[in-house]
Amino acid sequence: MINLVEKLGAWTIACLCELGRMLNFILYASYICVRSPGHPRHILKQISFIGARSSFVVILTAGFTGMVLALQGYYTLTKFGSEGMLGVAVSLSLIRELGPVLSALMVTGRAGSAISAEIGIMRITEQIDALETMALEPFKYLVCPKLIASVLAMPLLCAIFDVIGIGGGYLIGVKLLGVNPGAYFGEMEKSVVWKDIYSGMIKSVSFGVIIAWVCCYKGYYTGHGAEGVSRATTTAVVTSSVLILVWDYFITSVLQ
């Protein structure tokens, strides 16, 4: 019994230490982002990597998400004779919830894992130590460009997701299932308000912070060798994804 309590205590302390280190990491990264965010060239390169190169997977996911939403929404709404509201159902689901969350999960899988692996490899090959010994701030080169790029790229990817998703819903709802196109867009225009848009954008920005924060942190403090980098990459993706979903619940309850 004492052994069990000891283990539980040790686990709790380890978790608290990890949380403290993560918090310290993001605070210091934010400080460096404000003080010396790095060369615009490095930030643009990261925007291209995190944002532009994720657009294909985001477009693909968005198209099919919108199509499924229309398909499911149509069969539910016809039961109440409200298939004219399909555009509202699809657009609100996408703009408020699915757009930010799914685009963030896609970016985590595609770019987050790569960020973690890149920084992890630099750690185990002493490239980060080399930066430090040159009296250069590693955060300025490795963390800040990724953090800024992620915060800028996520809302844009989310906006693309929303538009493509609504287009996918239109394709199925209007072209396949015969919903009136005027009703599809007309009801959408009446029901979607500015608050829906900006709450989705706020979510995207916060998910951008989570992705860059967790993935950079896991890479920066990676374990030893190839196995350590592989574990850091896996943990980064899993932790980011879980944090995105957990944070989504809290931020949704605040933004309601």
């Binding site: 090959t125 130590d129 080399a130 430090e132 010994t133 040159m134 009296a135 250069l136």
Partner: protein, 249 residues
């Protein structure tokens, strides 16, 4: 001058440095030798503040560095250059970009001046014409020489060499030792070299310290170490299988 006083460092239950006391005199070449896995690289990383001791103190020019914050540590790092065991070149940058990197980030020199200084530095380490190559296109010896060029470029007062010749053929090995000797004579920096190259390392060092089982068991001029009465030192220098050093512990 670098001073280590009672430095202790453990990783988990393994004690790597056990109350190490060592002085590195300014302007001289000090070699740290000892069996593999005894913590020589760990000791070097304490001198530059990449690792912090569990106990004890590290002084650089009289300033205790083990408790310094990031910004203060950056100021200390301005004095240092370091050649890492695997050169630690930035693998996504070319040779030219690697060597130019500290100049681009820390000075206001023009592109032309930077290019000139990089070419001079590469020429100095016998590597003209490789500036467009990436580190993975270079041999081990070439990587180390690029690392040396990068370390020398900012004219540091102290340079730490972590096994600069390990894994290289005897000719390249001698060339790198010669390069260290020449650049030291020219620039007068303080050098600390972790090495296994015996007896060659005695020829370029002013002082030698022997690390064994986490402690400095002997330190002094090369002649003193060569004629040491300590059985461990004698075995290590002669490379004999008989003696206190056991391969399997």
């Amino acid at each position: 001058m670098i001073q280590l006083k009672g430095v202790k460092k453990s990783f988990g239950s393994q004690v790597v440095l056990d109350r190490v006391n060592l002085e590195i005199p300014s302007g001289q070449i000090t070699a740290i030798i000892g069996p593999s896995g005894e913590g020589k690289s760990v000791l070097l990383k304490h001198m530059i503040g990449l690792l912090r001791p569990d106990q004890g103190e590290v002084f650089v020019d009289g300033e205790e560095i083990s408790g310094l914050g990031r910004r203060a540590m950056n100021r200390v790092h301005e004095k240092f250059g370091m050649l890492f065991q695997n050169a630690a070149l930035f693998d996504s940058l070319t040779v030219f970009e690697n060597v130019a990197f500290p100049l681009q980030e820390k000075t206001r020199l023009s592109e032309g001046e930077i290019a000139q200084r990089v070419q001079d530095a590469l020429l100095h380490v016998g590597l003209a014409g490789v500036d467009a190559k990436y580190p993975d296109q270079l041999s081990g010896g070439m990587k180390k020489r690029v690392g040396l060029a990068r370390a020398l470029l900012m004219d540091p007062r102290i340079i730490l060499f972590d096994e600069p010749t390990t894994g290289l053929d005897p000719v390249i090995c001698r060339a790198i030792h010669q390069m260290i000797k020449e650049t030291h004579a020219k620039f007068g920096y303080t050098a600390v070299i972790v090495s296994h190259e015996i007896p060659e390392i005695f020829d370029i060092s002013d002082r030698v310290a022997v690390l064994y089982q986490g402690r400095i068991i002997e330190a002094g001029p090369p002649q003193q170490i060569r004629s040491s009465a300590d059985p461990m030192v004698r075995q290590f220098i002669s490379g004999s299988l008989e003696g206190p050093i056991h391969l399997i512990r």
